[in-house]
């Protein structure tokens, strides 16, 4: 009995000593590497940190993808990786020569060239794609027309459960029928021979080719998918400039260059994404080479005296934030009230106070970078007196006549909550209206917006491809399922639908501009800010492009050797 107890006591004592020793040792040896501002001193753990990197390896911060299956992708975090691992017939290329130019060019990817549309007698339009000879999967098997057809069929298969197939591929004849289980095959996709494939769409739609650049239209390896339906994305056989080396949940994604990439092998051999950890902290600790800059650090980074300022870039992003008004919900059924609420907001003040002027005020809905962007377009400008006047002229007769109003936003917290507080204050001070905040969970927020549950709400929209249709038609056509305000203006409908099928670029721009000005005047949306990406890039990273939407860009990067 005594010995046992002594032993237990001995163990306890040993434990105490051990813990103490471990803590001391660990802190002492590792000190300065990760947390401080010393140079790279690493311990031999399997962390790729402490400032050391392998030759030819680019380290980035990344969000965690939801999936690596291109046919199931619709979110930004997944798309970032998918566009590098997979490819489709066409792609969008950023301007490598001039990083400040945010326009994206439609370029052929697996296809040899961008085909001209051929009008058919029945009104449909056929594109004939010829595949490149040297287009292969990562495992060197050539990409054939049959693979393209298989991929499109799979995307449109109800069993795949893609939520966006109808949107991106719905123009193709037969896709809707297949999605509704009325057909087994897409009639509009026809394999002519191993290298040629015909895609027929219901009517002439210039945006269709842009939609083909989105992951839903990417090509996957039939053999791989069918033999391993559950887990094939763990080791995907794609056609893109990079191969997936490993994906460790919550930790990292490592990509290896595809030396046989048909558009040119990437210069950077390995790209390592760190999925956890705060970007800017990792960047300053030299764990990653590029990071985006959170709003809280913007002042510091924009200050010319701060050393980080040399590494700071800011690029346009095709996205915007806006306040949406539910046209069907009083008091926003009256356009004067909508206008009044819009005019009561001083966006410049929010931009300078909260966002350090890093976010440009949006004068319109279409953003810079789109062909139809109109610098002259005018969203309602800040005019407190005018706003009050309009309110009194409205059917509600002024602030007292208004029903209780609430503003809904997704419960993202942080700066979102703070800019909302500013909005509320402005409505209170300038209009005398007390607006309540309704913070909704993101899980239900979007659904509720579409069901018209809120009177007004704050949202943002990021384009998936650089075409006006991806914002104007989707949200302002009265019959579009994505119309989140219930906006219905027959004139705008006509303009938008005409623009959809208009093949003359100049005329198209004109149509969209007309529609936009109408929309701006009717104020179903009040545009707040255009999106911009703010990044810090280490000096030895060259040609790191920050495109306006999610498109492949890593293959252009080059790394200079460091000390």
């Amino acid at each position: 009995m005594n010995r046992v107890l002594l032993a237990i006591m001995g163990v306890m004592a040993a434990l105490i000593v051990a813990v103490g020793v471990v803590i001391v040792v660990v802190v002492a040896t590792g000190g300065g590497g990760d947390g401080g501002d010393n140079g790279p001193q690493t311990d031999a753990t399997d962390e790729p940190g402490g400032g050391q990197r392998a030759e030819g390896e680019l380290r980035l911060g990344g969000g965690e993808p939801i999936t690596l299956d291109p046919h199931l992708t619709q979110d930004v975090s997944s798309a970032v990786y998918i566009v590098e691992i997979f490819g489709g017939l066409l792609t969008l290329e950023p301007n490598v020569q001039d990083p400040n130019d945010s326009t994206l060019q439609l370029k052929p990817d697996l296809a040899e060239a961008i085909p001209e549309p051929v009008q058919n007698p029945d009104g449909t339009v056929t594109y004939t794609f010829t595949l490149r000879e040297n287009a292969t999967f990562h495992d060197r098997t050539p990409v054939l027309a049959g693979d393209v057809k298989y991929s499109l069929e799979r995307a449109a298969d109800p069993a795949t459960q893609s939520l966006v197939a109808e949107f991106f591929l719905g123009d193709i004849v037969g896709v809707k029928e297949k999605l509704r289980e009325q057909a087994d095959e897409i009639s509009g996709v026809r394999v002519v021979n191993d290298r040629t494939i015909e895609i027929t769409i219901e009517r002439a739609t210039p945006t269709f080719l842009q939609k083909l650049t989105y992951p839903t239209a990417f090509v996957v390896d039939q053999g791989e998918v069918e033999s391993n339906p559950e887990n094939w994305t763990r080791n995907p056989n794609g056609t893109g400039p990079y191969e997936l080396d490993e994906w460790v949940f919550g930790e990292r994604i490592v990509l290896q260059a595809n030396e046989r990439y048909h558009l040119g092998a990437p210069s950077v051999k390995t790209v390592r994404f760190l999925l956890s950890g705060e970007g800017i902290t990792l960047y300053e600790a030299r764990d990653i080479d590029v990071t985006s800059v959170p709003v809280t650090d913007l002042t510091r980074v924009q200050d010319p005296n701060d050393p980080l300022n040399d590494e700071y870039v800011s690029r346009e992003r095709l996205g915007m934030d806006y306040i949406g008004f539910n046209i069907g919900a009083p008091p926003f059924d009256d356009p004067l009230v909508r206008r009044a609420f819009a005019m009561a907001i001083d966006r410049e003040q929010i931009a300078s106070g909260l966002f350090e002027d890093a976010v440009p005020v949006a004068n319109s809905i279409l953003m810079p970078g789109l062909a139809a962007y109109n610098e002259a377009a005018q969203a309602p400008a800040f005019d407190a007196a005018g706003a009050l006047q309009l309110l009194e002229q409205s059917t509600y007769g002024g602030a007292e006549g208004l029903p209780p109003i609430s503003y809904a936003e997704s419960g993202a917290g942080g700066t979102a909550g703070e800019s909302t507080a500013l909005l509320i204050e402005m409505w209170r001070d300038n209009l005398g209206v007390e607006v309540e905040i309704e913070q909704a969970e993101s899980a239900t927020f979007f659904q509720d917006v579409n069901e018209g549950r809120y009177q007004m709400f704050g949202l943002g929209w990021f384009m998936d491809y650089p075409d006006e249709e991806n914002i104007l038609n989707i949200h302002f056509d009265s019959e579009s399922p994505n119309n989140d305000t219930g906006y219905s203006n027959p004139q705008v409908d006509t303009l938008l639908r005409q623009a959809l099928t208009e093949t003359d670029p100049a005329r198209r721009i004109d149509l969209y501009r007309q529609a936009e000005q109408q929309i701006l005047d009717d104020v179903p949306w009040f545009p707040l800010f255009f999106a911009r990406t703010h990044a810090l890039i280490k000096p030895y990273v060259k040609n790191y492009l920050v495109p306006a939407t999610i498109v492949p860009r890593l293959r252009f990067v080059t790394l200079e050797p460091t000390d």
Binding site: G353, G411, A421, L422, I424, I437, A440
Partner: protein, 390 residues
């Protein structure tokens, strides 16, 4: 026999033997412990501040001033500094105290007292199938992982709570009541009238109690007045809760918290009741034909009181912590209702901490002190009220 027959009526009027002297002694011993006294004072201050927040706060908690007041450190005008959009932190601390006060009191009343004590008493005294049913249900709730379930419930049920509370809010908000008062008509007016009558009754009871001599201070005749006072207080509390901003949040939080916190207390109360049930006093009272209510009120409750109080004060700390935690995670009270959880979550980012630690210090220290005080008090009460086991 004769002696017993004479002694008993006294016994049934007073509470069971240990209770009375324990109270007085306990209170005195408690007050002698300096730390406990300090804790009590702190808690009292906190709740006082919370109760009178609208009057005490120097600024409106929604006032923002991005231009001039961003991130100010502590100063004369703003003793705790300001946050990113220029809101005064002292004001927010005061209003957050109110939020915590509301949630803790509501949960303790609903979960601890009503559910915990009520069900514990029921289970212990009635026994049998009722006992088994209540205890089994309690065990299930104890086995449920608290925080995850709370997150789940709050995350998923919030909109439903909104709808339910919305109805309640529209009927008993301060404005509606005021209108009813002026109009002297409608169901709200009746409600107000009833409230008024009960309040009068409660006050009358209080007056009578004060006026009555020592011997008459206990007794069954007090019961209706006490009941009236309790009803009035709870209704007033309910009205106060539902008339404020973010009532649905409160409702959901304290509802969920009560659901998970009643079982522990009930179990303890039940075992205590089981022990007392078989004592001579109770048996004798029953033999004398005393009603269940009298037995519960005169014998059980007073003996169970110490445990209730200790449990309450310990629980309060936990509940305050839970509310802060839930709000921090985004599933508690929402903007713009101020809460310590929200303040801490805003302050906790590494970048902000580096430059503006005062954002965290203000709410952090207050919360820590509060919970510390609850713990100290609970400890002291424990020492004082329960007999030394060692």
């Amino acid at each position: 026999m004769a002696g017993a027959a004479v002694a008993l009526p006294d016994d049934t009027q007073e509470a069971g033997p240990p209770a009375r002297s324990v109270w007085g002694q306990a209170l005195r011993r408690l007050l002698r412990k300096r730390l406990a006294l300090a804790a009590l004072v702190l808690i009292g201050c906190f709740y006082f501040v919370g109760l009178f927040a609208p009057l005490l706060a120097p600024y409106d908690y929604r006032d923002t001033n991005v231009e001039e007041l961003q991130f100010q450190g502590p100063s004369l005008a703003h003793p705790f500094g300001t946050d990113r959009i220029g809101r005064d932190l002292l004001t927010h601390v005061i209003w957050s105290a109110r939020t915590t006060m509301i949630v803790t009191v509501a949960t303790v009343v609903a979960g601890g007292l009503v559910l915990g004590v009520g069900l514990g008493l029921l289970a212990g005294y009635v026994g049998g199938k009722v006992d088994t049913a209540i205890m089994r249900t309690g065990e299930i709730f104890i086995s449920l992982p608290g925080l995850p379930m709370l997150i789940l419930i709050n995350a998923t049920m919030a909109p439903r709570a909104e709808n339910g509370v919305g109805w309640l809010e529209s009927h008993i908000s301060s404005d509606t009541l005021q209108e009813a008062l002026e109009a002297r008509a409608g169901p709200e007016f009746v409600f107000l009238a009833l409230l008024g009558a009960l309040a009068v009754a409660g006050v009358a009871g209080l007056a009578a109690w004060l006026v009555a001599g020592e011997e008459r201070r206990r007794g069954a005749w007090l019961t209706p007045f006490i009941a009236a006072a309790v009803v009035v207080t709870s209704l007033w509390a309910v009205q106060a809760i539902f008339a404020t901003d973010g009532a649905a949040d409160y409702f959901l939080i304290f509802g969920a918290l009560s659901l998970f916190s009643w079982a522990g207390g009930a179990r303890v109360i039940r075992s205590q009741v089981l022990a007392i049930r078989e004592t001579e006093y109770v048996l004798a009272a029953r033999a004398m034909g005393a009603s269940t209510w009298r037995i519960v009120g005169s014998h059980l409750l007073p003996n169970v009181m110490p445990i209730i109080i200790v449990g309450l004060s310990a629980g309060l700390g936990g509940i305050a912590g839970s509310e802060v935690a839930l709000t921090f995670l985004g599933v508690g009270v929402h903007e713009p209702t101020p809460s310590f959880g929200a303040m801490i979550s805003r302050a906790a980012s590494i970048n902000l901490l580096e430059d503006y630690p005062h954002l965290l210090l203000a709410p952090g220290i207050v919360v820590a002190l509060l919970i510390f005080s609850f713990n100290l008090l609970g400890d002291a009460l424990n020492d004082v009220l329960t007999p030394r086991a060692r």
